[in-house]
Symmetry: C2
Subunit: 454 residues, 2 copies
């Protein structure tokens, strides 16, 4: 494997292609063919795709090419080659939720977010591999930077395809760490938005109060453009106001003050990853960003104490919420429930409504503290994972991801570090509803650290 | 048709049967056979059922009979003959959402609430008729008290089957008036619980932030027992604490103070219904219940002013939320979308995310005012509908139902009035989370007005 350097590793980008489509120096069809070529070169070793619809994508790309020629693209995503995690419904392709139980399943409709991409003119290339029902078992996808390693899960195929890179953008989901973690391992930019900010209707979820629609891209500007497009056309989840912000990516904004968080994960982080993270934090401090942490403010200490309990809180919420439909699947179709999902169900069988209610109260308390602190700073910086994707098929630890999942706070993974010659992401967490401001700060940080456009 | 008198009209009850099952004077199988006999006598004219599974119900009733004989019933619903609205998934029966698009559709799992009933030993008789996708078009069911009239919708079959009576209990849904309205027209007791209090997973919903799982029964005690059982086993919606209260129905409790609400509906209420309602309110006042209304308190005036705008607010929320999946169904399967649903989609096509956000802010404001007022009184009394079910197949007005749907506040329909020789319900609305206290007040009011157990 070649050595990985985040400063020089090339990812595929789209917003610059949209400019080239407009001036005629590139076309959606040509971009799509470059993606198909890259997929054909890497797919056998990476296994990112559960289903490919090259014919459908070519037809959509040709239509987009004609629209750009006529000077009338449909939207900022017109002609975008995109992959859809296979937990997300598509009307024209099988949607199997990574499971044998849904082999060949054809939904009667697109998920709301997929419809938004389709109506905007995107060329949907296919369905990316997911872990079965988004649970804890291994996926068959491999890390594009080192195929002995996991790409992370459960949005394994989406992260691997963008990080390889074989496509510029993919969408996934995130109920524990399923967007931020694989983005960290595969070296992609990703946004797990504020809870409810991007419509999840038509998405399989086993932890409904913590699940989010995530966006992976080779550029943080593309992450924003695609996320905002989906939210504009599809809205947020019902009852939620949806993603706030403009259609264009925000300008990079230097953060004045960041809180550096250890969470429960720092104690489980290897030395090389710690060193790489300290280097990034030191770089920010040298540039004049004020960094606060444990010991600097009693609110931060109280917040860290709460965050340390998040893995346990996440587990109680997940195990209660996954009971439907998983307990029924286990009873009716036991052969279709893989071992780790089965174990989680068995371990959670004794959970009571009272335990769940207590977890909801703890979550409300943590959200209050998060909001109080978030209003005084420009974000929270921490790791996106406790190290690179481990060797083997295990999905890797989500210990740095559970807090934002429980809180519903937006989180970015920024591909700023190399550890053991493979990527590890820096995580930037923001205030609830502050996705656009978070993206602006993420852009400044990434461009400062990498010294190139993000 | 015989003259309808709520004081003497007999409905089917279950909690007293459960006592008889225990002492051996009745059995679940015998109760089921009485239901089947009643269904066979009335079904041709009422058309309450989309699908009947008599064999499955008999098998479940026999198993329950054996458990009672062994002195070991499974739960308070063991042996309960129950109907399930056809918007609610069942693994062993077709679930068609009242639509041609889903003809013969077989879900892979029970809805969470259905599973709770099944695991408690209930004998699921079949699927009750719903309006197509729970929308505004007519259902084919007829009012059991006067078959020229509508039973109301969209839980048409559930309300008609309980009001006829042919069964003691049925479940339905409610996103506008679909539980409280048909209960009013058919003379059934019903609870539309606090938003999120009973798990809706596996239920088709076109207005997700206003939809509720409703319970119809021939007794308010049964309403409570069944609702609480479902919430205990299935929990509430993910992220919600679920229905609060004990497994047994609360003791009747005399309300000290009630707010009498006009809402937008009073101006649309016929004279006979107004007179019947004034009689009920006068009866409560004579018994020493303090009744407050417009002019008695500036908070009530402000609240009434907000309630008058609820039909408009409901419409904005509904039309935005119904877009998925309905706009897609309209595009892909236009012949499967009935006329009123189609018109609603067309009229709502111009709604923007900004309009929806503004509606959410208005809802939050109304919920604050509702909570402030609800903390000072024992409930809100109003009509459940502006009169009896109209002649014809139109579902009738939901103008008295939109406020509790928008607010997510619990509401009961109590069959306390006769107008034009058919039922009209009194609606009692409570504070969010206060379903048990509401039921206790509803029991006292119903028993006071009817002079018999409720």
């Amino acid at each position: 494997m070649a050595s990985y350097d985040p400063r020089t590793h090339r990812l595929m980008t789209f917003h610059d292609r949209a400019v080239a489509f407009r001036d005629g120096s590139d076309t959606p069809r040509a971009l799509l063919e470059r993606c198909i070529e890259a997929i054909e070169a890497r797919e056998e070793e990476i296994v990112a795709w559960a289903f490919l619809d090259l014919e459908g994508a070519r037809k959509a790309a040709d239509a987009a090419t004609a629209r750009y020629r006529a000077g009338a693209p449909l939207s900022p995503v017109d002609g975008l080659p995109v992959g859809i995690k296979d937990l997300i419904d598509t009307v024209d392709m099988p949607t199997e939720y990574g499971s044998t139980l849904f082999a060949g399943h054809r939904p009667k409709q697109d998920a709301a977010a997929v419809l938004a991409l389709r109506e905007g003119g995107a060329a949907i290339l296919g369905k990316t591999v997911t872990v079965t029902f988004g649970g804890g078992d291994p996926a068959r996808t491999r890390n594009p930077h080192d195929t002995r390693r996991t790409p992370g899960g459960s949005s394994s195929g989406s992260a691997a395809a963008v990080g390889a890179p074989t496509i510029p953008v993919a969408i996934g989901t995130h109920a524990r760490g399923s967007t931020v973690r694989p983005a960290s391992f595969c070296g992609a930019y990703a946004l797990k938005p504020t809870f409810g900010a991007i419509n999840r209707q038509g998405v399989f979820s086993a932890a409904d109060s913590m699940d989010h629609l995530g966006t992976f891209a080779g550029s943080l500007r593309d992450v924003w453009i695609i996320a905002r497009h989906m939210a504009r056309l599809a809205g947020g989840d019902p009852g939620h106001p949806g993603l706030y912000g403009g259609a264009a990516p925000p300008a990079p904004r230097k953060p004045a003050r960041l809180v550096r968080l250890d969470m429960a994960g720092w104690a489980r982080t290897d030395e090389a990853t710690r060193a790489a993270f300290e280097e990034v934090v030191g770089d920010l401090a040298s540039a004049g960003v004020e960094i606060y942490g444990r010991g600097d403010d009693p609110t931060i200490d109280a917040y860290e104490a709460l965050l340390a309990r998040m893995p346990e809180l996440w587990r109680d919420l997940y195990r209660f919420e996954m009971r439907w439909p998983m307990l029924q699947y286990l009873a009716l179709y036991p052969d279709d429930v893989p071992p780790r999902l089965k174990r989680g169900l068995e371990e959670g069988a004794g959970l009571t409504q009272e335990t769940y209610r207590a977890a909801l109260v703890q979550r409300a308390h943590a959200k209050n503290l998060h909001a109080a602190l978030a209003s005084r700073v420009d974000g929270f910086v921490t790791l996106a994972s406790p190290g690179p994707g481990p060797v083997g098929m295990d999905q890797g630890s989500a210990i740095f991801n559970e807090p934002s999942s429980v809180l519903g706070a937006p989180a970015l993974s920024l591909p700023l570090m190399a550890v053991e010659d493979v990527p590890v992401g820096v995580q930037l967490m923001g205030r609830i509803g502050g996705d656009e401001a978070l993206t602006a700060r993420g852009l400044w940080i990434a461009e400062h650290v990498l010294g190139r456009p993000a």
